[in-house]
């Protein structure tokens, strides 16, 4: 049967039409893939790049007078308005303004103004004016570096006092309080005196530190005072050379990777989320790999070839298609409440009613993800086991190997690339999953990492942060804050990098195994 549209074409034309059609759709696929990568990389990368500061003059509507602002300008050509992120005396830490493109009178790079990043994650756009020190009020701006070093030294002293003296004394005091023995009173008194003495030292140092301040001015001439101890960095963005901009960007990347989120996940770093993601995936892999491999071995090597086995096999493959939120609900209902609750009543009954294992935590999250990714591992492993040639198994049996020896010595090594494939897929899935994790342990902000120096070091009951959840959370800030849209993209970029790195590692391992066991 010849289709009407094909009727006018000869065989060669018809073939080339088919080829161009298929190529066209492949092209569209490529474009989609590349644009995802480009968008994420560009928007994510922009988060780290120092944003130039402009002096913007805006026509005011009522008084025919223009107003000047220091602002980061976000100009989207598609829109009527220009988005400004500016700071003034009323909003020293910045706010946003949408202005009509026509009402912008002039736009010039403000060379004197700086982006002043604060330790709490906020930032100030202003013109640094002078430095205030205990010795004098009108120090040159060039003194700033020296003063910052001085303040850093003071801060270091305070930290040392806090960690080395105050914290141990505080701990000792709470031990006394717990024991509540009258005979301890003199020793306790002594400790209290020591504590007060050190605390006085700290207070003195802090007071001394507070005397170092930076005075800045906004575009309208109003001044604003910032304690130097609160300043993380001062960058005169307009004066930076390309190399210096790169330096700023790299230090931003380092902060992003090593610090905690600040200002409700709109600035600072994502280290806890990165750490939580990797740790959760790691625990999940430890659980799911032996579980899946053993189940697959039973199904493909031992299970009798009956209808029941077929039913099990089909349901395992179908489990891979169950929506992930269902696993989340299961994890919450079964693992957290039922299992965790029982563990609490058995082992941690002294702390009840406040739950220990009976609340969402990283272990339950890892276990839930293990259940979620189990079908993937089982199916891939079975596939790998099926590829082991019967002749090799027979050869092994003929040399006197038992079934278990044959499986361990011959079948599993040959199937290992298949097993790795399953684990790779499981890792990629678990690293990017969000919905079930929010039910069983991932939170927007966790006060502590799941690993620390306190016994038992790995706290499986703690809630944790996850990159996917962080992205989900920061997506809701994007409407109100220009920069956090980029924070979301930056976290996306990082998640992509994490998944890519994990994948590449696993692929390398798989290639090595394949070389060793398949090609010989």
């Amino acid at each position: 049967m010849v289709k009407p549209s094909f009727s006018g074409l000869n065989a060669v034309q018809r073939q080339s039409l088919v080829i161009s059609l298929t190529a066209f759709f492949t092209g569209i696929l490529l474009i989609a893939l590349v644009s995802v990568l480009v968008l994420i990389t560009a928007r994510g990368g922009a988060y780290f790049w120092p944003e130039p500061i402009f002096a913007v003059s805006i026509k005011s509507d009522n008084a025919q007078q223009s107003k000047t602002l220091l602002a980061n300008v976000f100009d989207d050509d598609a829109q009527q308005e220009v988005r400004l992120k500016y700071a003034d005396a009323g909003n020293p830490y910045g706010t946003q303004l949408l202005v009509e493109r026509e009402s912008v009178e002039s736009l010039s790079v403000a060379l004197d103004s700086a982006q002043i990043k604060l330790n709490d994650g906020r930032q100030v756009l202003a013109i640094p004016d002078h430095v205030i020190t205990p010795e004098g009020t009108n120090n040159q701006l060039s003194e700033l570096t020296r003063v910052m070093q001085k303040v850093a030294l003071l801060s270091e002293k305070i930290t040392t006092l806090n960690t080395q003296f105050l914290a141990p004394i505080h701990e000792a005091l709470s031990r006394f309080d717990n024991r509540d023995v009258a005979a301890d009173a003199p020793a306790r008194e002594k400790r209290v005196a020591e504590f007060n003495q050190y605390q006085q030292q700290v207070l003195n140092l802090e007071r001394q530190r507070e005397q170092y301040r930076l005075a800045v001015k906004f575009a309208d001439g109003q001044s604003f005072i910032i304690p130097v101890s609160n300043i993380q960095s001062v960058d005169f963005v307009g004066r930076l050379s390309l190399l210096e901009k790169w330096q700023v960007a790299i230090s931003e990347v380092i902060i992003f990777l090593t610090e905690s989120p600040k200002q409700a996940n709109t600035s600072g770093g994502v280290f806890p989320a990165l750490f939580g993601t990797v740790l959760m995936v790691f625990i999940m892999t430890i659980i799911v790999t032996p579980f899946g491999v053993l189940a697959a071995i039973y199904l493909s090597e031992y299970a009798p070839n009956t209808a029941l086995t077929t039913v099990i096999r089909v349901s395992v493959s179908n489990m891979a298609g169950v929506p992930s939120i269902v696993y989340g609900v299961f994890g919450l209902g079964f693992f957290v409440y039922t299992l965790g609750g029982s563990i609490d009543s058995l082992l941690f009954s002294d702390t009840l009613p406040s739950p220990t294992m009976g609340s969402p935590g990283i272990f339950w999250a890892a276990l839930t993800m293990a259940i979620l990714t189990l079908p993937v591992v089982i199916v891939a492993t079975e596939e790998g086991l099926r590829r082991v040639p019967e002749g090799l198994k027979a050869g092994s049996y003929a040399l006197g190997a038992t079934k278990i020896e044959t499986i361990v010595r011959t079948v599993l090594p040959i199937a290992s690339p298949g097993i790795m494939t399953g684990v790779i897929l499981a890792i990629a899935r678990a690293a990017g999953e969000v919905a079930p994790l929010m039910l069983v342990g991932a939170v927007k902000f966790a006060p502590a990492l799941p690993i620390d120096g306190e016994f038992p070091f790995l706290h499986l009951d703690r809630q944790f942060m996850h990159l996917g959840v962080l992205i989900y959370d920061s997506a809701f800030h994007s409407q109100t804050d220009a920069k956090s849209a980029s924070m979301m993209f930056a976290a996306c970029l990082l998640l992509l990098v994490v998944v890519f790195v994990l994948n590449i590692l696993a692929v390398l391992l798989r290639t090595r195994l394949r070389k060793r066991y398949l090609e010989g």
């Binding site: 002749g391 090799l392 027979a394 003929a398 040399l399 190997a401």
Partner: protein, 268 residues
């Protein structure tokens, strides 16, 4: 030289049980409903090469799989009768199958080296037997490879992957692997059908030298090969042992018409 060996070939009927390596008594075997081996009774002589010939599907491979109970691996296989090796009926439930298989070596139609190094391939069976001392393993590997006439070709690359060897070398490696366990009986299931004529000749010469140490049973489709290498030949047809005699007699003066037709190539 060949005539020298052929001279002490006794007729099958005169074989005593002391000279028998494998004695088969009333062996019947079914795959599900299919009756594959029917009342096989034969004595396979010690330190001789016995060839099993016959059409595809006549049960000769199944028969040698009975000698190391490899048929146990297949679902739906059932059998009765006796196969006596070393004075014991190996079809008995009490037999340790792993130990039996270590004593009865087997080489398959397609070379099936494990995806490991040459060295590891040869000591696979020994390690299963619990040999751990490196020096013993080294000695056994060298000895087995020498017996399989492969030593000179691989002695400088023992730790290369076995897959890098040629087909003929792989088959000899597999023979060395079987020999490393010093088997009493070596079963060869069409060992040369996947190999070129020169390599085939090589392996045939190997069999000649190996029969001093062990009894060889070879399944082959190649009539010339059976005549060249074997001392005794058994002809099977549709699961039945049709004729069994020393090779000289069987190939020159077959008793049965069926045998004559098959060996002269007139058969279906």
């Amino acid at each position: 030289m060949l005539t020298l060996f052929k001279n002490n070939i006794k007729p099958v009927s005169e074989l005593t049980s002391e000279q028998t390596a494998v004695e088969v008594k009333d062996l019947n075997l079914w795959f599900g409903e299919k009756h594959v081996l029917k009342d096989i009774t034969m004595r396979i002589p010690e330190n001789k090469v016995t060839a099993l010939i016959g059409q595809s599907g006549c049960g000769k491979s199944t028969l040698i799989n009975c000698f190391n109970r490899l048929n146990d691996l297949y679902d739906g296989c059932s059998y009765n009768g006796e196969v006596i090796i070393d004075g014991k009926n190996i079809n008995s439930k009490k037999v340790n199958v792993s130990r039996l298989r270590a004593k009865v070596g087997m080489v398959f139609q397609r070379p099936n080296p494990f995806p490991m190094s040459i060295y590891e391939n040869v000591c696979y069976g020994l390690k299963l037997q619990g040999v751990k001392v490196r020096r013993h393993l080294d000695d056994a590997v060298e000895k087995a490879l020498r017996q399989a006439a492969l030593w000179d070709e691989v002695k400088d690359r023992l730790f290369d992957p076995a897959m890098t060897l040629s087909g003929g070398q792989q088959q000899r490696l597999v023979i060395a692997r079987a020999l490393s366990l010093k088997p009493k009986v070596l079963l060869l299931d069409e060992p040369t059908s996947a190999l070129d004529p020169l390599t085939t000749l090589f392996i045939e010469e190997l069999m000649e030298s190996l029969k001093k140490q062990c009894t060889i049973v070879i399944v082959t489709h190649n009539m010339q090969q059976a005549a060249r290498v074997s001392d005794y030949t058994a002809f099977f047809h549709q699961g039945k042992l049709v004729e069994y005699a020393d090779s000289d007699t069987l190939f020159t003066m077959p008793e049965k018409k069926q045998t004559e037709d098959y060996i002269t190539g007139r058969y279906g």
